[in-house]
Amino acid sequence: MTDLISTVIAKYNYWIYITLMMIGLYAMIAKNNLVKKIVGMNIFQTAIILFYVSIGVKKGATIPILEHGHGPDAHHVVHAVDYINPLPHVLMLTAIVVGVATLGVALALAIRIYNNYNTLEEDEILAQIREK
């Protein structure tokens, strides 16, 4: 039992990311309002970013910017254990950008849909399409 609890606690970040991701996924599938779906989509994406950032965390390490980057001791020896893994951060910068780009496109589409049907509720739009 204590094992289980300690696993749960030790990896709590991962549980949070799964929770957030599922919240987002559920919103994308089950929500009726198009903008709500887009909000869900963004939560979904940020959850994955949270997951990646969690990979990079390293106990007892600091942010991945080298101290003594300039000045007289610019070339002193760097130990990998002192710094957080920078690679996930780099990847996630890209992912954030992709997220905002997708958001822009999705909103543009939502506006066009609104112009066509004068509503953002999916069921109302489908009803209008069926009427035609």
């Binding site: 919240i23 009726n32 903008v35 709500k36 940020t46 949270l50 965390v57 958001l103 939502a110 506006i111």
Partner: protein, 81 residues
């Protein structure tokens, strides 16, 4: 890292996410989404991902929210879910 703050932020993230999806007003949802992004950004800076946090602060909490507000302004605030 101070665990009570960490825990508080984690809770807030989830609450903000659920809140953004629950409120019946899209403008409110946009603002709550901004709050969610900002909490996320705090979380990441706690984890030492300063660049990611910086980006999220400017993009997620900043520009994304503005886009949402702009889009909601151009469409409608009303929603049923």
């Amino acid at each position: 890292m101070i665990w009570p703050i960490d825990l508080a932020i984690l809770t807030l993230v989830v609450v903000a996410a659920i809140g953004a999806l629950m409120v019946k007003d899209l403008l409110g949802a946009s603002v709550l989404f901004g709050a969610y992004s900002f909490m996320m950004c705090l979380l990441w800076s706690i984890m030492g991902a300063v660049d990611v946090a910086f980006t999220e602060a400017s993009v997620g909490a900043g520009v994304s929210t503005v886009f949402f507000v702009a889009a909601v302004f151009r469409t409608s605030r009303r929603t049923r879910d």
